[in-house]
Amino acid sequence: MADAKKLAEQLKKLNELRGPVPQALRDQVAAQNKAQKAILDALKGGPKTAPELAAAAGLPADKALWYLVGLRKYGKIADVAGRGDYPKYELKAGEAK
């Protein structure tokens, strides 16, 4: 684990070298966090498909799917087994709260 002081120095140096973190990047990450939270909130009500989650989170379906892929890869949500044109996703145990 990094020494807090050393890390702070490194990050400060980084800010000096490259300038502050661009606002566009900050906005992008904020939008990402908001979208992911909206998806996870919507899933608290039970398993849903990508278009359903897109509607609930106010996102285009392809964007919602991409967020689902990320949340799935990093263990926040899981596939629901079953048939049908649109597969459903659910919260992974332990991620419900």
């Binding site: 684990m1 990094a2 020494d3 807090a4 890390l7 702070a8 490194q10 990050l11 140096k13 980084l14 800010n15 070298l17 490259r18 973190v21 990047l25 900050r26 990450v29 990402q32 966090n33 498909t49 990508a50 278009p51 897109a54 379906a61 392809d62 919602a64 799917l65 991409w66 967020y67 689902l68 892929v69 990320g70 799935r72 890869k73 990093y74 596939d79 049908g84 044109d85 649109y86 597969p87």
Partner: protein
């Protein structure tokens, strides 16, 4: 130039796809020392990202990972990944390559590949390994089977929150890391820089890459791969299981309008293979291949094609004039049949794969090695009826797709001859 490291080897292999790996192994197994330089963060090239490979339907990982492991464990092979060859100079019988190791922003010696940095990083990015369909983090290990298992940080996407550094058990995050110049001296060079696919944006009639459900064959490979982005076959626009999938053949080959008049050799076969795999994972789906000529010319290929037809895959002799989409992003393919009826038709599918062709992965003329190129940027051999590897540059040999499109069996079969030519050249120095 002050180099951080100097490496001496008998041969320098540029590129670590299947041809580069095989050429390196075939040299090292004869007792020669080899240095490999690979621009990607992992060795394995294009092949490691494929699902299964024709005509045997082995999983691509099953064939590639052992080669990758052999190279990484080989006592006579040194591999530099995430590194670029900036220049190669030849003096007498010695090549001197200036190589830059790009910063991963971690201490490569200390990292234990625990992935904790990746887990805590809050920024998600499109994953190019998954052809943009999947997500990764700003700091992440490229993929499950990557060698080496080291994360790469993308500083342009980093919000400098410091979470990775705080969680790393080995304290090996280095935000201030710089590129490291390395010098490699070698007696021979093997170019194995492979290919890229023709760009999705190449053809206006096929949607310029802007239609979400018109995808590249590499994306289709990822959809079919065991650890693909969705874990199953879905279409990118809305996560629907596609019920109808079409392949547009020669979407980036045999086409003078995009500067690729040649046949790319692999597209018929990868389309047939993907169609077979798709019909395995989606048994009720309709799969159509629109084609001009099916070129199943290799060993076992015609039989593979016949099997696909017997499985019910629909082969339609037709030219595809245009691909558009309807309001629900369903691709609409306008075809002119070459068989049956001549009237143009519009056919709606759920997902369309454009069979893109192959173009050179690297402009090797920038190395100034004297290896001539043909009109399309592939390496031209001195006399291909005498040797399949000797270029016009003394001590410079070529392996695999750098000489022109070829499939995996042909590339593997080709790599050994490049190793052999390099070996006899070195021996006679």
């Amino acid at each position: 130039m002050s180099y951080t490291e100097r490496i001496e080897a008998d041969a320098l292999v540029v590129g670590s796809g299947i041809a580069g790996l095989q050429a390196a192994l075939d040299l090292a197994d004869q007792g020669y020392s080899v240095a490999i330089v690979e621009k990607a963060p992992s060795i394995g090239g294009k092949m490691i990202s494929l699902s299964k490979v024709f005509p045997t339907l082995d999983c691509a990982s099953c064939i590639t990972t052992p080669r990758m492991a052999s190279v990484s464990h080989h006592p006579r092979i040194r591999t530099l990944t995430y590194s670029t060859v900036d220049a190669i100079k030849r003096e007498g019988g010695t090549f001197t390559a200036a190589v830059t190791r790009k910063p991963r922003y971690i201490d490569e010696k200390e990292c234990i590949s625990c992935k904790r940095c990746e887990e805590v990083c809050p920024v998600y990015l499109p994953d190019e390994y998954e052809q943009g369909l999947g997500a990764k983090k700003t700091i992440s290990i490229p993929f499950t089977n990557a060698i080496p298992q080291l994360p790469v940080m993308h500083p342009e996407h980093c919000i400098r929150c410091g979470a990775c550094a705080r969680t790393c058990p080995k304290d090996c995050i280095e935000f201030l890391q710089e590129p490291a110049p390395v010098e490699i001296k070698a007696k021979a060079v093997i170019l194995a820089t492979g290919y890229e696919t023709t760009p999705m944006t190449a053809k206006k009639q096929y949607g310029l890459g802007e239609l979400p459900n018109v995808i590249s064959p590499m994306a289709a490979e990822r959809l079919l791969a065991p650890h693909g982005p969705y874990g199953r076959v879905l279409r990118p626009s809305d996560g629907k299981v596609p019920g109808s999938i079409a392949y547009v053949q020669c979407a980036g080959s045999r086409d003078k309008s995009i500067g690729v008049p040649y046949c790319s050799r692999v597209c018929c076969m990868y389309a047939i293979k993907q169609a077979i795999l798709l019909s395995g994972s989606l048994p009720v789906a309709d799969i159509t291949i629109y084609y001009m000529d099916i070129r199943a010319f290799g060993k076992g290929y015609e039989q593979f094609y016949n099997n696909a037809r017997a499985m019910g895959i629909n082969f339609v002799k037709a030219k595809v004039a245009r691909v558009t989409e309807d309001a629900d992003h369903n691709p609409v393919v306008r075809i002119e049949r070459q068989e049956g009826t001549s009237a143009p038709e519009e056919v709606k599918h759920d997902l369309v794969v454009l069979a893109q062709g192959l173009v050179p992965g690297c402009d090797v003329s920038k190395f100034g090695l004297g290896a001539g190129l043909n009109d399309f940027g592939f390496v031209q051999l001195s006399d291909e009826t005498v040797s399949s590897a000797v270029t016009a540059g003394a001590g410079v040999f070529a392996a695999g797709v750098v000489k022109g499109p070829r499939d995996i069996p042909d590339s593997v079969m080709d790599a050994g001859s490049a190793a052999m030519e390099a070996a006899s050249y070195i021996r006679k120095l």
